[in-house]
């Protein structure tokens, strides 16, 4: 099962990837920006997308909207992982169809548990 991680911070991206990869049977693919995510999306069948909100090209909300409006991807669950504590962005993210909204910092166990739940693993 493939999980797409969209995050422009290299260190955070690697930390997220390492955490998610500890789950057996999961393969992580990373995109460094919203644009790269748009390019990667059609190439794989993703079981889950994890995205940041604040990115230099398109913002995470726009990516959620794109995914949720597109018949190819709309059933893919999507997590927002962000520093954005702002209520408006959080509400909008969830309204657009994000499944979970995690605010950094959070415990690795929380992320692992959520990923497992949505991927219906153990």
């Amino acid at each position: 099962m493939k999980v797409l991680i969209v995050e422009d911070s290299k260190a955070t991206r690697e930390l997220l990837a390492t955490t998610v990869q500890t789950i057996g049977g999961v393969e992580v693919i990373c995109a460094v920006s919203g644009f790269e995510a748009l390019k990667v999306l059609p190439r794989f069948q993703f079981a889950l997308i994890i995205t940041d909100i604040n990115m230099p090209d398109i913002n995470g909300l726009e990516l959620i909207n794109f995914v949720k409006k597109n018949p190819h991807y709309r059933d893919t669950p999507l997590f927002v992982v962000t520093t954005e504590g702002r209520n408006q962005d959080r509400e909008r993210g969830l309204a657009l169809g994000a499944a979970e909204y995690l605010i950094k910092p959070f415990e690795a166990e929380v992320l692992v548990a959520l990923v497992k739940r949505y991927l219906k693993l153990g």
Partner: protein, 685 residues
């Protein structure tokens, strides 16, 4: 969710963020009083935001907390809730310095003084932000925007939209379809066309065209231009322009002002500004970013070397068979081998040059940091000073650039604090009120020359002479014989400068011995020139790189030595009768200047060769000049110095070992140590 081994990754990325933040703040600092570019403010905000997220993930709570407060303030700034005034900009610049201090502590995994300062600074930022203002009726509500489109705007994008509406410009939607493979280039081209005509507020990927190979984007664009003009501009990209809301006829409202000017006033600033602990400007990472083109060049060179290797293998095989008697040696064998060895030499040169280039970074990296600090020190000093900076594009070895920042800062601080007079004193002396402090770099052959100068009061030579005698740095007799330049150079001798002498000598000499030592470590030379009433200039000469150096190969008592060529000034011949003796030390005269004569054989306790005519290598390190007597000059060669291990490591006078080819290992002379060893007994007397 911190992993200890990820610390260095965290430091590297945080460092990059802070560097970018520093560059943006510098631009804002330079454009004080002008309206700030929204992109720039957003960039600064993004930096604080990324830092908050990053440090939070890595359990760096002090950095995260301060970044959080900084982010809030910057968010208020980019959303127009707070005005960018001098007090706020000063606070931001100090916060950046504090981040650097916190990061340095984090890198050493210790809790230091910066942590406490950070708490005070966070409070201060909060006061600058002030209480939140209740927002009036939202102009966006009356626009009749498609709610689906509005749903994907972040708060910031909404703010930009609002600002455009307030200015009374029209909002357009520009739709363009690109191929999925290279839409980013297409978008960049479209943005470049639109940017001069208005503001691209948001870029929305559209899910509408269903096919696999293309993607459509909607750009929300605010512009005072007519639709026709926009259509013409984006024709090449096949952009489709639709008007979303027409330009308003209402007069644009002025931007909201800071809501709490009393609190953010400069009067309060001096009192409540926490002091940032001084930290080194050296960056915390040991990485160099390399242009991919340069790496490709190196890869090509390696490929060609492999080709040469296989040619040589064939030639070797031919020679082996000839020796075994199974085949005659090909006629042109010698010629071929010669040709290949020439090709090998050329390619190795290319490879060497390429690798040196990879290590090179522009001085601008450290100039950015310096110029920020200089502005701060100038503000604190209350003097009126222009900072004249040139040569940021000159490239130097990364390690040298890193090591240079502290000595340069030291010299600049001295120039500002002590070199430059107060505006009143300058006017009285008939000089312009505003002083100039210069930092200039230029490349000169294999060296980079840096000049740190001011047009201040200059040094008092007579006072230097008196202080030097008082502190037993020189004897009265020696002091009499010193020339102007030698006299000025006394300020570099350890023990010359003390706190007491600071004000008496316009502060020069404060820690200058440390500057000198740091430069000597980089095989650098420092010189000083000062004219009373006109100012002081320090000239620093540094080699381009330390990795591969050219060396003079010499023979002393039958042993071969390598002397780094960058410290060699010239080579002269001196006959025994020309030698004189001063205080039981041999000296000779070089164009009227007395230079110590050092027999290398004696330094290393080797048997002496009796010679009438000595080959003397004049070496210079910082301001010192010494003549090293050797038996024979063997030539020049590029060498890579390898450190000596074990007990040999601490042999004074030996910098390391190198291989000269022919499988012979020779020792590399540590010119600095030889000179220091020579000077030490004298300054102790």
């Amino acid at each position: 969710m911190a992993r200890p081994r990820a610390l260095s990754e965290f430091i590297a990325e945080a460092n990059e963020i802070l560097e970018a933040l520093g560059r943006d703040l510098l631009v804002l600092d330079e454009r004080r009083g002008q309206e700030a570019d929204p992109d720039l403010l957003n960039g600064v905000f993004r930096a604080a935001h990324s830092l908050k997220g990053l440090s939070g993930m890595f359990g760096q709570d002090s950095i995260a907390r301060l970044a959080h407060q900084t982010e809030d303030l910057l968010d208020g700034l980019r959303l127009g809730k707070v005005a960018l005034d001098d007090a706020l900009l000063d606070a931001l610049i100090e916060t950046l310095d504090l981040f650097n201090a916190l990061l340095a502590e984090a890198a050493e995994e210790r809790e230091g003084p910066a942590q406490e300062v950070a708490i005070a600074q966070a409070d201060r930022l909060q006061r600058l932000l002030g209480p939140a203002v209740a927002s009036a009726a939202d102009p966006l509500d009356t626009l009749g925007l498609d709610p689906q489109m509005r749903a994907v705007f972040t708060e910031y994008e909404e703010h930009r939209l609002r600002e455009n509406v307030k200015r009374g410009v029209a909002l357009y939607r520009v739709r363009a379809v690109f191929s999925l493979a290279d839409f980013d280039q297409g978008l960049a081209a479209l943005n470049a066309k639109l940017k001069p005509l208005g503001e691209v507020i948001s870029t929305l990927p559209s899910s509408q065209p269903g096919d696999e190979s293309t993607i459509a984007f909607d750009l929300v664009f605010g512009s005072a231009k007519e639709q026709g003009e926009l259509e013409a501009a984006v024709e090449e990209q096949k952009g489709l322009v639709t008007l979303m809301t027409p330009a308003a006829t209402a007069r644009p409202r002025p931007a909201p002002l800071a809501n709490d000017r009393e609190v953010s006033g400069p009067q309060l600033r001096a009192l409540d500004a926490p002091r940032t602990p001084e930290t080194s400007l050296r960056s915390l990472t040991q990485t160099v970013r390399v242009d991919i083109g340069r790496l490709d060049g190196l890869m090509n060179a390696v490929g060609e070397l492999l080709l040469i290797k296989s040619n040589i293998q064939q030639l070797a095989e031919g020679a082996r068979q000839a020796a075994a008697g199974s085949a005659p040696l090909p006629k042109l064998w010698g010629q071929e081998l010669f040709k290949e060895s020439r090709a090998l030499e050329r390619k190795l040169d290319e490879l060497q040059k390429g690798i040196l280039e990879v290590r090179m970074v522009p001085l601008g990296q450290v100039f950015d940091k310096l110029s920020r600090l200089v502005r701060r020190i100038v503000r604190e000093s209350g003097k009126e000073i222009d900072f004249d900076l040139a040569g940021g594009d000159v490239e130097l070895d990364k390690l040298i650039v890193e090591e240079l920042s502290d000595p340069l800062m030291h010299l600049l601080r001295n120039a500002i604090d002590h070199g430059v007079e107060s505006p009143e004193a300058r006017v009285k002396a008939g000089k312009p009120r505003r002083a100039v402090v210069r930092l200039k770099a230029r490349q000169q052959g294999n060296h980079v020359v840096l000049e740190v100068g001011d047009d201040g009061a200059g040094m008092n030579e007579e006072r230097i002479r008196e202080v030097a005698i008082e502190r037993n740095v020189v004897t009265v007799a020696q002091a009499e014989g010193l020339e102007r330049r030698e006299l000025l150079n006394l300020v570099f001798i350890p023990g010359f400068s003390t706190r007491a002498s600071v004000s008496e000598l316009s502060g020069r000499g404060v820690g200058l011995d440390v500057v000198k030592t740091n430069l000597a470590r980089l095989s650098g030379i420092i010189d000083i020139d000062s004219r009373r009433g006109q100012g002081t200039t320090f000239t620093l000469t540094l080699p381009l790189t330390l990795a591969i150096i050219r060396a003079l190969v010499v023979e002393v008592s039958g042993r071969t030595w390598a002397v780094p060529l960058n410290s060699v000034m010239e080579i002269v011949q001196v006959t025994t009768p020309e030698l004189r003796s001063i205080e039981k030390k041999e000296v000779f005269s070089l164009r009227g200047q007395t230079v110590p004569f050092v027999r290398l054989s004696r330094v290393f306790g080797l048997p002496e060769t009796k010679l009438e005519k000595h080959q003397v290598v004049i070496v210079g390190l910082a301001q010192a000049r010494v003549g090293l007597a050797v038996d024979q000059l063997l030539g020049q060669q590029d060498i890579v110095t390898k450190p000596l291990g074990g007990r040999l490591r601490s042999v004074p006078g030996v910098a390391g070992a190198t291989d000269l080819g022919n499988r012979r290992t020779v020792l590399v002379l540590d010119v600095a140590a030889v000179i220091e060893g020579l000077l030490r007994p004298r300054s102790a007397s």
